[in-house]
């Protein structure tokens, strides 16, 4: 392959510099500027934007985003892990069919999927009517915290299922049989063999749900009715309605820091796991 030289990738390198690296640096830079000074053309370095974020109102909002994302991730995991095990226990062709059936809803536009829950949860919607029959009158589930979390679970569930399924499928059934043969009971086999071997899948599934959930503003706007502001909503608001880009940039930096911290922790977990995996063999 020596006939091909690395310089054919240089144009893309330039593209990445202009449209990925520079914009990120611009936002980092913005986050350290004070707003009025920037408009006057005078650049003053300041930490005010980050200090402003330390206000209890914003901290509570950050806590809420984190909490909702964690709850959604945990719910997805609780459903996806047993489900993944059930799918793996099916014969091969039915496994594929099941996975395809789980993915098809993902091909429906993300906004439409969220909108569908608006219809289901609304005051005149099916769920409220059903609750009405049970005696709970005029219950609207739309624009509640549960609706926001439900929207996260519904939209991101397949991201949890797929890596878990792939990890479970890769486990050699002989290993599980060997564990039981060597005297492990079902619980021990599960905790000591199955969970550790599927841990990389679990971790990447959790990441794939947590990251979009913690940064969403669509779900909280449509299903929460704007009542439950998340970090994403705050960023959107600062950039699009309040035009306070400097504060908005600072919040984005906080959000990125959280995500990279979580990514780092995930790598730490799977990194260790890979080591013990080596020892196991």
């Amino acid at each position: 392959m020596k006939s091909f030289k690395e310089y054919i990738a240089y144009p893309y390198g330039l593209w990445m510099l202009i449209f990925i690296a520079v914009p990120l640096l611009v936002v980092v830079w913005f986050s350290f500027l004070s707003n009025p000074d920037f408009k006057a053309g005078v650049y003053t370095f300041t930490l005010d934007n980050y200090q402003e974020f330390m206000d209890p109102v914003y901290l509570e909002l950050l806590y809420r985003s984190f909490l909702y994302a964690v709850i959604a991730t945990v719910i997805c995991f609780i459903i996806a892990y047993p489900l993944g095990n059930l799918i793996v226990s099916l014969p091969g062709h039915r496994q594929n069919l099941m996975i395809v059936l789980m993915i098809i809803p993902m091909w429906v536009n993300f906004l439409l999927r969220t909108y569908a829950w608006m219809v289901l949860l609304s005051g005149s919607g099916l769920i409220s009517q059903f609750l009405g029959l049970l005696g709970f009158r005029d219950v609207s589930l739309l624009y509640t915290q549960s609706a926001v979390i439900l929207g996260m679970v519904y939209n991101f569930f397949p991201y949890m299922l797929l890596p878990i399924y792939t990890a479970l499928k890769k486990i050699d059934p002989d290993l599980l049989r060997a564990a039981t043969d060597l005297g492990a009971n079902h619980f021990q086999m599960f905790v000591k063999i199955k969970v550790p071997l599927s841990l990389p899948g679990i971790v990447s599934g959790c990441m794939m749900v947590f990251m979009p959930a913690v940064s969403t503003f669509v779900i909280s706007n449509l299903l929460g009715g704007g009542k439950y502001m998340l970090v994403g909503n705050l960023i959107e608001q600062q950039f699009l309605t309040l035009n306070n880009w400097n504060f908005g940039s600072a919040i984005s930096m906080v959000l990125m820091t959280i995500i990279f911290l979580v990514l780092g922790i995930a790598r730490l977990i799977t990194g260790k796991e890979l080591d013990t995996g080596g020892q196991l063999l």
Binding site: S3, E6, I18, P23, L24, N109, A116, L222, S249
Partner: protein, 259 residues
């Protein structure tokens, strides 16, 4: 007993995943503006949908953006993957790091950074900015799909073809290209789906004049429930099902052909 439990679990999860979509489909034929009891069959929401210039234009923009972004990012991504494959390690690492940023960073951050850049550079928000943004977040996925294909190739496959008398053009199209084609196809498919489905990045880089389907649905849904959206989702879901069945038939034919 175990089987019953298993089927029950599958049934419940499929109900959870499909119920919202089915409800949308059913209500798209309901002759009532509220999503309450059944008020009779109607096609008026479909008629209204096709009279809505705004939605039709959004559909047109969505397709234009997706086709341009997919074409550009597939070509550029494949060529760049080849370049990165041949790259010295010192340069390869920063390339892959930068390339991974759009994959790892949340959409909203990609959206605001690009928007800041466009406004900073004095560019007018519109079709150009949205297409640039889509190309930027599509190329990384193409590279991630194509690069492993290059890594798996025998070291001197291209030169071997040349030695055996192929012209460089033949060696590329008849030897190298078929080997990496599956990667290119899946990269292009990922790019196309991401572009069609994208809301957040488009939302920040679209400006006022241009709007894709996601943005249109968002602004309609923010105002509350709208039966026209139900009709739109039914049509889109129908298209997906037809596409899936077509792919299925084609692959079954392929299997028969091999047999």
């Amino acid at each position: 007993m175990k089987k019953i439990f298993r089927n029950l679990a599958f049934g419940l999860i499929l109900l959870f995943l499909y119920a919202p979509i089915l409800v949308l489909i059913v209500y798209s034929f309901n002759d009532s503006k509220i999503m309450g009891p059944w008020a009779g069959f109607t096609l008026k929401w479909y008629v209204m949908l096709f009279q809505d210039r705004y939605i039709l234009q959004a559909l047109y923009y969505t397709l234009i953006i997706a086709v341009v972004a997919t074409t550009v990012s597939t070509i550029v991504g494949t060529i760049s993957a080849l370049g990165i494959y041949r790259m010295r390690a010192k340069l390869k690492r920063p390339y892959l790091l930068l390339n991974n940023i759009p994959v790892l960073v949340p959409d909203i951050v990609m959206g605001i950074t690009l928007m800041s850049l466009f406004i900073f550079a004095g560019m007018k928000m519109g079709l150009t900015t949205i297409i640039i943004a889509h190309i930027t977040f599509c190329i990384p996925y193409v590279i991630l799909a194509v690069l492993p294909r290059f890594n798996r190739l025998p070291e001197n496959i291209f030169e071997a073809a040349l030695d055996l008398g192929a012209t460089p053009r033949q060696a590329f199209w008849k030897v190298l290209f078929p080997e990496i084609l599956p990667g290119i196809t899946s990269g292009a498919l990922i790019a196309f789906t991401l572009s069609i489905d994208d809301f957040v990045i488009s939302f920040f880089t679209a400006g006022n004049g241009v709007s894709n389907l996601s943005i249109t649905i968002y602004s309609m849904a923010k105002a509350g429930i709208n039966p026209k959206i139900n009709a739109l989702s039914t049509i889109m879901f129908g298209c997906i099902m037809v596409l899936l069945i077509l792919i299925n038939i084609r692959s079954e034919k392929g299997i028969k052909h091999i047999q």
